[in-house]
């Protein structure tokens, strides 16, 4: 967040070139991973050899030319399950992260700029942060029922508090700066200052928070599905691991084609978002790039 940057249009191209070599590599690898998996999700019907919901072979078959990753306990093609699983991970990850980031940003901006709201909003954020996250998620998911929409809403509603804290402190710092004070002096309304003078300076932070949240959500969704709280009608990587666990696949040679691939896929997509976020953090916080910190 350099002081000289024009608030209206940050120059993205030059910022990318200004990154250190490590960060640029991270951004490129991350983007490749995310784009690759996004293509897999979008073109799942064309890419997968079988319908993942159909029983297309004998159960527990090892890999063969017909079923490259074998079949599961009821004879469904594991490779097809794996390809369709990208849809759940990406859609839940992106939409729950968007919900939580939007909530956190609104709360953070309000708390940072309207001092009267600050106390209550931040107490609320502290309370949400202090609840045991995964157990609460499990209890809520068990009550509201297993569907993708419910998963997205629950995770989104529980995850915003960290983002709100971060955006609030950035807004607080910005609201003391000369250009904001000057805008207030010449009679800008508070809403206009928030939109025109503060918002452009927090956008990068918001994007970086969104990417961080996506990684978190993807791993949370997998954990929920693995505990049997995912949508029973959807093929997800977490659900694949749930059945692999329930059928003891990791005690047999089947772990190599039934347990390994979904885990690596989850790792790839989570890592992809994390790497883009890592590079972006260097833009947001130039202190990481040069200087001594």
């Amino acid at each position: 967040m350099s002081a000289a940057a024009s608030p209206a249009q940050p120059a993205r191209r030059s910022r990318f070139l200004a990154l250190s070599g490590t960060a640029r590599a991270a951004a490129l690898i991350g983007a490749a991973l995310v784009l690759g998996l996004a293509c897999m999700a979008i073109f799942a019907p064309q890419l997968s050899p079988y319908d993942p919901a159909e029983r297309v072979g004998p159960p527990f078959s090892p890999p063969s030319p017909v079923h490259l990753l074998g079949t599961n306990d009821i004879g469904q093609d594991i490779l097809s399950e794996l390809i369709y699983g990208a849809r759940v991970s990406l859609s839940v990850g992106v939409s729950a992260a968007a919900l939580s980031t939007a909530l956190g940003t609104v709360v953070g901006l309000l708390a940072g700029y309207y001092r009267r709201l600050e106390h209550w909003l931040m107490r609320l954020a502290d309370i949400v942060l202090a609840l045991p996250f995964l157990p609460l998620l499990i209890v809520l998911a068990a009550y509201v029922g297993r569907s993708l929409t419910n998963t997205v809403i629950i995770i989104g509603l529980l995850l915003w508090a960290g983002t709100a804290r971060l955006i609030r402190s950035q807004t607080l710092a910005l609201s003391q700066r000369e250009f904001v004070l000057a805008a207030a002096t010449v009679g800008c309304t508070r809403g206009r200052i928030l939109r025109r003078h503060i918002w452009p300076h927090v956008t990068f932070l918001v994007i970086s928070e969104f990417l961080r949240a996506t990684t978190t959500v993807i791993l949370l969704e997998v954990s929920l599905s693995f505990l049997g709280l995912g949508d029973p009608l959807q093929k997800s990587w977490g659900a694949m691991l749930y059945w692999a666990q329930a059928r003891g696949a990791f005690l047999t040679p089947a772990w190599a084609w039934w347990v390994l691939p979904p885990g690596l896929s989850i790792g790839a997509v989570a890592l992809g978002f994390a790497l883009i976020g890592f590079a972006l953090e260097e833009i947001v916080n130039p202190r990481l790039r040069n200087g001594n910190a």
């Binding site: 202090a130 045991p132 990684t215 954990s223 505990l227 005690l251 885990g263 989850i266």
Partner: protein, 328 residues
């Protein structure tokens, strides 16, 4: 951590609010859901209950009374230590929790120690040799580790160390039906705990590593370290005399906060290893729709997280040189 900026009273008010919210959620959830709350309060299908049991649950939850009276009664039960009864297991829930808690404490406690030691040592190494190949490779492996589902690592550990190599047991906390005593029994428990503890440690180590690395880099950049370097002090003297005391508070606070987090992580880890702790209890309760057990375990997790927060606050106050701790 924002511990320094607030009064102790304010923090405790906040923790009280968290506890009240958790208890209120527990009270409200079964009653807010559509349909008959009886099944949710009992945790089994109403058809499976005898008429007596049904009347008993109705009376215990006060379902025939106005909502505020039910709420007051709910608090009364909790204050008396009555966490309810599992009609599925036919046992008081408090008894089930008491049986499971020690195993989770064993896992979470050992994992906390292991991940704090490993995370701090590796983080300090990274910070001290900033931008060296060692730093870069550590940083990248931690980012990678952070992107993997922890329970999946556990499954791989079982496949490799328990099944392939046969070094360690794959599941459970003790060898079933083995009449072991004394040292042999202790060894048996340790052997069963190694893989879950390792998995749980790997889950929380990257965050600790990143905190230690970042905090140390921050402190190394401070003027007093530059002064110490200019004075010609030995590197080890600077590290132990100047850097570590100033970097300790956030690191120790982070470690204490991790305790609550490790508790939460135990849900998936204990499920993978069929480890008979609280986390596995939640999983079993979810599977059998035993809502009262699920909620009681959630409450216990909340208390654990709050206790670790309080511990973090106390440690922060003692350690921060700027807050006038005793050792300055």
């Amino acid at each position: 951590m924002q511990a320094s900026g607030e009064s102790r009273g304010g923090r405790f008010l906040q923790y009280a609010a968290v506890l009240i919210l958790a208890i209120t959620l527990n009270f409200a959830l079964p009653r807010l859901m559509p349909g008959n709350p009886l099944a949710l309060l009992a945790g089994v299908d109403v058809g499976l209950l005898s008429a007596d049991e049904r009347a008993e649950i109705m009376a215990a939850a006060g379902l025939d009374q106005p909502l505020y009276k039910q709420y007051v009664g709910y608090w009364g039960d909790l204050l008396r230590g009555d966490l309810g009864y599992s009609y599925r297991q036919k046992r008081p829930i408090a008894e089930m929790l008491a049986q499971r808690l020690p195993w989770t404490l064993l896992l979470a406690g050992s994992a906390l120690v292991l991940s704090t030691v490993l995370g701090s040592v590796l983080g300090a190494l990274s910070a001290w040799r900033r931008a060296s190949p060692l730093d870069t490779s550590l940083l990248w492996s931690m980012i990678g580790l952070n992107s993997l589902p922890s329970f999946w690592l556990g499954m791989l550990f079982i496949a490799v160390f328990a099944v392939r190599l046969g070094w360690l047991p794959a599941q459970g906390a003790v060898t079933p039906a083995a009449q072991l005593t004394g040292g042999q029994q202790a060894l048996d428990i340790v052997r069963h705990a190694i893989l879950p503890v390792l998995t749980l440690s790997l889950l929380s180590m990257p965050d600790l590593y990143l905190t230690v690395r970042y905090t140390l880099l921050d402190v190394i950049g401070e003027d007093f370290v530059r002064t110490a370097t200019a004075k010609g002090l030995a590197r080890s003297r600077i590290l132990f005399g100047h850097v570590l005391p100033n970097a300790a508070p956030p690191i120790v606070t982070m470690a204490a906060l991790r305790l609550g987090y490790a508790f939460g992580g135990s849900v998936v880890i204990e499920t993978v290893f069929s480890y008979p702790g609280l986390g596995r209890l939640i999983f079993e309760a979810v599977g059998s729709r035993d809502y009262p057990v699920m909620q009681a375990a959630f409450l216990l997790f909340t208390v654990a997280v709050l206790l670790s927060n309080i511990l973090a606050d106390l440690l922060y106050r003692r350690l921060d040189p700027r807050l006038g701790g005793v050792h300055r």
